[in-house]
């Protein structure tokens, strides 16, 4: 009985004239005039279920699809640009930035992104790390350092030291709060056995000591001025207490009794922030709670508390009814920023709808957000991201976007942020005070979200383009790209390839690139060589063409009894055709590996169709019977035949391909 040639009975199929291998069987084609073998790419589907056209740049009358960004104000943190459950503001988001203001144009100009200003040290060179900052009504800034207070005169923009020790402030400062132009301080010694509550009044009034009663049992740990009330905290080893006091009465002789405390917190924790939450005063603690103090019958009482599990709360702010707080994970140096809404529930004021805005994870660096500062449109916080790199992060209220803002070279936590004359003043514990300058950063970047047009298949990326405001002298814009998804987290990766560098003009010219990949990750780099000018980028875009991934092979297979082996005269084998046809039919619908010997092709796919036997044209006198098999699948890389030199250890170092 005729057999089908297979890998089990044929060792060298090409020598015997077999043309294709379908899984394990060898077949001869019946290629001839009118019955050609065709291998063609399947049609590329242009339409996608997910709409990835988001910007004007994305609509093109030319070939391909375009991924673009012309607004970045919705902040960072979007890893994939195209997603099925995307949000409306995805189109304005990106993945990461540094040194660039992404939220608006400068000085009331139309939207663009541009370099941020640098910061410079104020050369205070702190000797201690108890660097609390407060700003008085007249704009002066006070920063503590050990037992010294540095006073910044906003009118002269100069710093001077106020030596408190000779005027009553004997111990290290533990807190500072401004009441009008007066600054209240708390102090304590290292053993919490001596403590003071004092104030400094400028214009020659000097220091006044209000209360030292707490110094026999513990130490005062901080002071805040919220809702026209001074809140003072102290810790006697039994608990951390929060008291309130009337700043207007300025009478503190009998204050700070344990029984008068609004709340008591377990003593291993501390109060880290007290802010005006609108309906209530919100008090954050490292015990993971945010307490809500409500004014009741002229005094503040605790009217609810919200537990944030597994987190220490180190900073808190409220803006436009939204509560922001920065945390550190209990047992790890992982910082997180949350936002929540203050809601009234059963006469209690608690935080609800809590959302994690961002998490910072940097090896061996405590990235806890500290010292929140609320401006008219943004909430700023300081995050240490590396040794000698402390950055402000900005939450932009109009869009809810977050992005990295000013950079400093401090090496600890930010303990205070404020503004003076439109410039940021940033206090970094144990380091110095840093002030925003009018010099642009020399370089900044925006890493765009990875774009794949919501298809996992490889695309041919062919063009890159930026559009800028007319470039000033000494500025430069580069557009780079990477096809490695993991480069999202490695903005300095060497695998970012430069697509174009623009030194002048407005861009708007597509530069050719040639990359085949699923993703493209753009990186826009802005540079200023003199710091006096900044490039301003309006939009960036990449063009991709779809690549057919499926191929369709239609092959006439000889299923006649007549064998036409090359180099041999035809031979008739009774029953061979029927056997071959049955073997083919058994493959219909199956997943197969089709290997065509010439041209060398390997296609993995399914047998989509097998035609019924067709007898070729009788006019030319042939009696060849053939069937047409259609295989649709993906093209595989061609392989070399395994030879003895591929033996591991000889030529291939263990890299070889066994089997098909």
């Amino acid at each position: 009985m005729a057999r089908v040639a297979s890998t089990s009975n044929v060792r060298n199929p090409k020598r015997f004239g077999y043309d294709i291998k379908l899984d394990n069987i060898y077949l001869r084609t019946a290629v001839g005039p009118g019955r050609e073998m065709t291998i063609q790419s399947s049609d590329v589907q242009q339409g996608q279920n997910v709409n990835v056209k988001q910007n004007p740049e994305d609509f093109t009358s030319n070939l391909g699809r375009i991924y673009s960004r012309n607004n970045f104000s919705a902040g960072q943190g979007l890893d994939t640009a195209h997603r099925a459950d995307g949000k409306p503001d995805d189109v304005n988001r990106f993945w990461d930035s540094k040194g660039i203001d992404v939220f608006h144009g400068d000085d009331e100009t139309a939207y663009h992104i541009h370099l941020l200003y640098t910061t410079a040290t104020e050369s205070l060179s702190f000797g201690a790390s108890n660097n609390y900052m407060t700003q008085t009504t007249n704009g002066n800034i006070y920063v503590t350092d050990g037992t010294t207070v540095h006073e910044y005169d906003a009118s002269t923009e100069t710093w001077s030291a106020i030596l408190a020790a000779t005027n009553g402030a004997t111990y290290n400062f533990t807190g500072a709060a401004a009441f009008g132009n007066t600054v209240y301080f708390t102090t304590a010694d290292a053993t919490n056995t001596n403590s003071e509550f004092i104030h400094y009044e400028p214009d020659g009034h000097g220091w006044s000591t209000h209360n030292t009663a707490f110094n026999t049992t513990g130490g005062l740990t901080g002071v805040w001025f919220v809702k026209n009330t001074l809140f003072v905290t102290g810790n006697d080893g039994t608990a951390e207490y929060v008291w309130e006091g009337d700043a207007f009465a300025d009478s503190w002789a009998s204050a700070f009794a344990v029984v008068d405390a609004i709340i008591e917190v377990e003593p291993t924790h501390e109060i880290t922030g007290i802010v005006d939450g609108g309906a209530v005063v919100l008090t954050a603690s490292t015990d993971g709670n945010i307490y809500s103090f409500k004014l009741s019958s002229g005094v503040f009482v605790n009217q609810g508390q919200t537990k944030i599990p597994f987190e220490e709360i180190h900073s808190i702010a409220a803006a436009e009814g939204i509560i922001f707080f920065g945390t550190k994970e209990n047992t790890r140096d992982v910082g997180r920023l949350y936002r929540a809404d203050l809601v009234n529930a059963d006469d209690l004021y608690v935080l609800a709808n809590r959302q994690l805005v961002k998490e910072w994870v940097v090896d061996n660096v405590d990235t806890t957000p500290h010292a929140m500062f609320v401006s008219r449109d943004s909430v700023y916080m300081g995050v240490k991201e590396d040794t000698n790199e402390v950055n402000l992060w900005r939450y932009y209220l109009p869009t809810g976007g977050l992005a990295r803002d000013l950079q400093t070279v401090g090496n600890s936590y930010v303990s205070g942020i404020t503004q003076s004359d439109g410039k940021f003043v940033i206090v970094v514990e144990g380091s110095d005070v840093y002030k925003e300058t009018s010099t642009y950063e020399s370089e900044g970047y925006v890493v765009l979200s990875a774009a794949d047009f919501f298809t996992a298949e490889s695309k041919q990326f062919v063009g890159a383009e930026v559009s800028t405001v007319t470039m000033p002298a000494d500025t430069q814009v580069s557009l780079q790209y990477s096809t490695r998804f993991e480069d999202l987290d490695a903005p300095e990766s060497a695998t970012f390839t430069n697509a174009l560098t623009q030194l002048g003009g407005t861009g708007d010219e597509e530069k050719q690139i040639a990359e085949v990949s699923r993703y493209i990750i753009g990186k826009v780099i802005l540079r200023s060589t003199d710091g006096m000018s900044t490039p301003k980028v309006k939009s960036v875009q990449f063009r991709a063409l779809a690549r057919p991934e499926l191929v369709v092979a239609q092959i006439p297979i000889n299923i006649s009894d007549r064998v036409e082996r090359p180099g041999r005269k035809p031979l008739k084998v009774k029953g061979l055709g029927d056997t071959l046809y049955k073997a083919l039919r058994a493959k219909e619908g199956d997943s197969v590996t089709l290997e065509i010997f010439e041209p060398q092709e390997i296609i993995r796919g399914v047998v989509e169709q097998i035609s019924y036997p067709i007898q070729s044209n009788e006019v030319i006198g042939s009696d060849t019977m053939y069937a047409i098999i259609t295989v649709r699948g993906t093209r595989q890389g061609t392989i070399e035949e395994v030879t003895s030199i591929h033996t591991p250890g000889i030529a291939a170092w263990g890299i070889m391909r066994y089997g098909a």
Partner: protein, 336 residues
């Protein structure tokens, strides 16, 4: 050029019937076939494709040398075929390991051998072989060949072309350079086959030719004394080969006649056959190489025949110029 009939058969396959890129499916025997009754043969599987191996199954005709066998069963695991020997008019013979085995060849070696034999025989009377025989003049007729059965090929002789003699007896050590050959009148006569006579010792002898024309040839000389040596050149039919080892010279085939035989064999084998394109192209190219291009309107077979006729005419002209027809009177051939 060929030495034997077998070589000529190979040459026909090589130059006409089996182009190198279109040969019959073949392999070789892996063991000797030592007897004519051995019913199994073993083959090397590596040269066969799966289908070709399957084609060796029951019912297939297999050729080894000139023997055709009928396959009764196939064991593709042990590569052994059980066969019926010597079928389709062929003779079972022994074979050696490495002898070629073919599957149902379109042109069997036996057929080609037979065609070669036919073509050689059919060259006469257009062409003829020539043989010079040394005879001793006698007073009566002189039988060609010795008594007994046919141990020579003198029965293929047709007619004398010429006869010469020095009209003297050869002496051992004598000077031969001073003598000239002169023509001798000779008459060839046909006697019954077999022919019985009584020799000079009063012994009855019988001359029998077992092949060839059914006559016994004899010659009679005129004008020459008995005992003289005469060299007689005869026109002769071509001798039918008896095996592939038969030399071409023994059948009277000149070297230049090989293309005539091959073209005739090819035409004989191809006539009426469906010729593969590749084969037809190959044959056409072969003929074009002989300055006889095949026109598109001509069939391969008829073209081969015409080509053969052309070759024959050329050979015949050469033959006529070399051996002109002698003058005969009363059936006696006189020297010219």
């Amino acid at each position: 050029m060929s030495d034997t009939i077998g070589n000529l058969v190979d040459r026909v396959f090589r130059e006409y019937l089996e182009p190198m890129d279109s040969v019959e499916s073949y392999s070789y025997l892996t063991g000797d076939v030592t007897t004519t009754t051995q019913s199994t043969i073993n083959y090397e599987e590596g040269l066969f494709s799966t289908e070709e191996e399957d084609a060796l199954g029951a019912g297939a005709i297999i050729e080894v040398n000139r023997e055709l066998m009928f396959s009764k069963s196939l064991n593709a695991v042990t590569n052994e075929i059980t066969v019926e020997r010597g079928v389709r008019g062929t003779t079972a013979t022994t074979h050696d390991a490495n002898d070629i085995i073919k599957i149902a060849p379109a042109f069997t070696r036996q057929a080609v051998y037979d065609a070669v034999s036919d073509q050689i025989k059919n060259l006469y009377p257009t062409l003829f072989a020539v043989e010079t025989i040394e005879l001793t003049a006698s007073t009566g007729y002189k039988l060609l060949g010795t008594y007994g059965t046919d141990v020579d090929t003198n029965n293929y002789l047709i007619a004398p072309l010429k006869a010469i003699s020095q009209y003297t007896d050869w002496q051992s050590g004598s000077d031969q350079t001073g003598l000239k050959y002169n023509g001798v009148a000779i008459e060839m006569i046909d006697l019954p086959n077999p022919f019985v006579w009584t020799d000079d010792t009063q012994t009855e002898r019988t001359k029998t030719y077992t092949s060839g024309p059914n006559v016994v040839h004899a010659v009679q000389f005129v004008g020459i004394s008995a005992g003289h040596t005469v060299y007689v050149t005869f026109k002769k039919k071509f001798v039918a080969p008896t095996s592939e080892e038969t030399t071409l010279s023994s059948v009277g085939l000149e070297t230049e006649y090989e293309p005539i035989v091959m073209a005739g064999v090819a035409a004989q084998m191809l006539v009426g056959k469906d010729i593969k394109n590749v084969d037809a192209r190959y044959i056409t190219e072969q003929m074009a190489a002989q300055n006889y291009p095949v026109g598109s309107s001509n069939s391969i077979s008829s073209s081969l025949l015409r080509y053969q006729q052309l070759l024959i005419q050329q050979a015949r002209s050469n033959l006529r110029s070399k051996y002109p027809e002698p003058v005969q009177l009363n059936s006696i051939l006189y020297p010219t």
